[in-house]
Assembly symmetry: C2
Homo-oligomer: 303 residues x 2
């Protein structure tokens, strides 16, 4: 099946292009971007031109930042093409509700992806937790924004979500593996005095679960979550890729597929089944944190 | 049918108690409040005590501020009673999703009310707009917080929503009367330097609709919305109570029932039908405004 990739930036070149090159399901048939290109692939500057010129391309994957994503997503669905969205699926919840209804009306697949949910050890962690009683959970997601988003000013603009850009990955894993629903009880958000999105956040969730997100981490980077249960302690490390039970490696059941190849395999399955998958629960927790959270002003941040 | 009222503060005494006194459907059988009472009605300090002592009371109406509401709501639903919630239905979206699922599992009615949706002229405005093309919309919701929420510090605490406490009434009308879905494009929020919730907000919504919310209005108070359409200009004034078409009064079709009597009539109908009504679209727009909006710091506010 032919697919077009829209937004040829860092994540597209690092992840989407290689995943499509190795996919048994998909052929990368076109790209759309103001500046970026993928070697040897037909490139369009505007999405409308690609949709008009290439009726043979039945699916589109968007790798745009959240704020400009909605117009492109609407254009794809109105043109009757299947649509796959990078996380988060939009800048607002309301616009994703509109896309979900539009995809249903058009009879096409909408897949709002959460790449961390298909990290190697997430399915095994979910299976292990399924019949446990969780006493406490602790999420630590601390990375260096200068290393992972060099110069990407949009991430600190209004709607860029700041530290929730990586933090939503943790929340996407959490909402996938927990055996019960979770909601936010309180939150504290640190906004740099010169920025419109938080650089750090601390969340208190139901079920005695806390989350510590920080974009200022230097040295070792941490993407860990730990759960203390009636049957011992589960730790999920490296962004869902390593599973430990009571401190011992328990990776034997781990998936061997990389995150983006797994997403494209899932997209192919959804298209074949005529189904959609749009789970907004990670995004709801982020919107709730912005709504309910108290705000601190912290030191200015420059890349 | 017997009903208990939880949270005997200003809104309960001003609106809920009189509405229940005049209702042909309901008998106010108990109140729950730390301090407040309604004359002649059995009073409990704790909700669990009321639920245990009065199995004859099949429904509960909560008039608590959003943050403490969730625990009480869960207790009501777990006790198998029907539940009616003041607006907004919770401090977070995730907790209302949990309540909705719990009500469904328990087989009881959950009614998340939006009192402004049953203001006198809202249904007539909706009917008039149904087959119009809207070119522009303008919402102006400006009131004096000192007059309407005297000394209610919770409204400016984290989760209190600030000016969105009245603003969500406007959004509840908007999402009721528009013939198409609406989403937020941009927002600007003014936070007093000593407070954790905004005192003013300006929203840019899809469909060329803007909203201007302000809690600092002195003199005349304004709760208006105007729509310029292909068939003239509709104005809905006084919080949905007065309808004008092209500047002339068009109130002839208006509902004659007050807002809270209409809510309790609707609750009775839902209970009799075994149905629930939980439309979160006004709350989604507010969460989206907190997530997407840029923030200004403005002068400190004291009641």
């Amino acid at each position: 099946m032919k697919i077009a990739l829209v937004g040829i930036g860092k994540i597209a070149l690092d992840q989407h292009v290689p995943a499509l090159a190795s996919s048994p399901d998909w052929e990368l048939a076109a790209t759309v971007s103001r500046h970026g290109r993928a070697p040897g692939i037909e490139a369009f500057p505007r999405i409308e031109d690609m949709l008009d010129a290439r009726p043979d391309i039945g699916a589109v994957s968007l790798c745009l930042p959240p704020v400009p994503r909605f117009e492109a997503a609407q254009a794809v669905l109105r043109a009757g093409r299947h649509l796959m969205l990078e996380k988060p699926p939009g800048a607002t919840l309301a616009e994703v509700h509109i896309l979900r209804d539009l995809a249903q009306a058009q009879g096409v697949t909408l897949y709002a992806t959460w790449h961390s949910r298909v990290a190697h050890a997430v399915a095994a962690a979910k299976a292990w937790l399924a019949d446990r009683v969780i006493h406490e959970g602790r999420i630590t997601w601390r990375e260096d924004v200068r290393k992972w988003h060099p110069g990407q000013d949009w991430i600190f603009q209004a709607g860029g979500m700041g530290v929730f850009d990586p933090g939503i990955n943790a929340l996407s894993i959490l909402t996938e593996i927990l055996p019960m629903p979770v909601h936010l009880r309180a939150a504290e958000l640190d906004f740099p005095e010169n920025r419109q999105a938080p650089i750090a956040a601390r969340l208190a969730l139901s079920g005695n679960i806390t989350a510590d997100f920080d974009f200022r981490q230097q040295g070792p980077q941490t993407w860990d979550m730990e759960f203390w249960t009636d049957a011992g302690r589960l730790a999920l490390r490296l962004g869902g890729n390593v599973l430990e039970i009571d401190g011992a490696d328990a990776g034997g059941e781990a998936s061997i597929m990389g995150e983006y190849p797994a997403l494209y395999a899932r997209m192919a399955e959804l298209v074949r089944r005529g189904a959609s998958e749009v789970d907004l629960s990670p995004m709801v927790l982020v919107a709730d944190a912005f709504t309910l959270g108290s705000r601190n002003t912290v030191d200015a941040f420059e890349f």
